[in-house]
């Protein structure tokens, strides 16, 4: 196994000894997780879009009951939290442990804001009697946003853990997970809340 890119690129591989994963930055196992999560969500998004084709009126009427502005604000909150996580990685690379910890807690705080907005949204929907069994749209709404919400909670736990047991590898791995949570929401928001 060569420790360089298979082209004329003179840079060393980020993870020599990891086979095909050698050319990926950060923890290779995190990339396995990111890829598998993306495939799972892609399958759900595709299924959602094709089921909508069969029940367009139900899906469009149900979508009108969601709050797309709150969803958009949550997108901005999560993307800003992602920026803070990326800045934490930059700080730890420069050896600034204290600054890294500050960025991590800033990312954590915005993650909590995302959760609060989501909980308010869930409470509103449940208060209106809109349950997962109401129709196919709401089954997918709760399934997809709930699955994503579980990832946000896990990510928050990971960030808190890493802020406590800080190291370059730990921060990079937690930030990669957090960016995956960003990425999934970037795809989820327009598909569930906006496309009609």
């Amino acid at each position: 196994m060569t420790d360089r890119y298979p082209t004329s690129d003179p840079r060393p591989l980020p993870n020599p000894g990891w086979g095909p994963l050698s050319a990926l930055p950060g923890n290779p196992l995190m990339w396995v997780l990111i890829l598998s999560e993306m495939v799972v969500f892609a399958a759900f998004f595709g299924l959602f879009a094709w089921l909508r084709a069969g029940e367009r009126e139900v899906f469009d009427a149900s979508q009108q009951l969601l709050d797309p502005v709150a969803g958009g604000l949550n997108t901005m909150v999560l993307l800003t939290s992602g920026l803070f996580a990326a800045l934490a990685v930059q700080a730890i690379k420069a050896g600034h442990v204290r600054r890294c910890r500050q960025w991590l807690w800033a990312a954590f705080a915005l993650g909590v804001v995302f959760c609060v907005v989501k909980v308010v949204e869930y409470a509103d929907k449940l208060g209106q009697g809109l349950m997962p069994e109401t129709n196919t749209f709401f089954t997918f709404y709760y399934l997809l946003t709930g699955f994503h919400f579980a990832h946000v909670l896990f990510g928050l736990g990971l960030i808190a853990l890493v802020a406590w047991r800080i190291s370059h590898a730990n921060v990079e791995t937690a930030a990669a997970f957090w960016h995956m949570v960003d990425l999934i929401w970037i795809l989820l928001y327009p598909i569930i809340y906006l496309l009609r």
């Binding site: 930055p25 960016h179 795809l187 906006l194 496309l195």
Partner: protein, 103 residues
């Protein structure tokens, strides 16, 4: 503020901040293209609007992969695999959307 000023000196950090600004702008474009105000919110999106919405979504996902996740430093094969997966997801969604509109 001191921490922010130091961070701004760093080229990599500047790239992150520019990417964040682009992502914020694209999120606003996504929301605007979805025509959330007034009566338009009750109607189906025009095709150009749905196309713009999916295009901005693709570009946002691409930026997160390349800059936030650092995939721009990976091999072309991995970059192609991840970008291809995002593209395939959005093509699948767009095809379902078109079938719904034409039905």
């Amino acid at each position: 503020m001191g921490a922010m000023q130091n961070a701004l000196r760093n080229a990599a950090t500047r790239r992150l901040l520019i990417t964040w600004a682009v992502l914020m702008g694209l999120t606003l474009i996504t929301m605007l293209s979805a025509q959330l105000g007034g009566e338009a919110r009750l109607a189906a999106l025009p095709l150009w609007s749905a196309g713009l919405l999916l295009a901005t979504t693709f570009f946002k996902a691409h930026r997160v992969l390349m800059v936030y996740l650092g995939l721009s430093d990976a091999s072309p094969a991995w970059r192609g695999a991840f970008v291809g997966l995002v593209l395939a997801t959005l093509v699948l969604v767009a095809s379902g959307y078109l079938v719904a509109q034409l039905a």
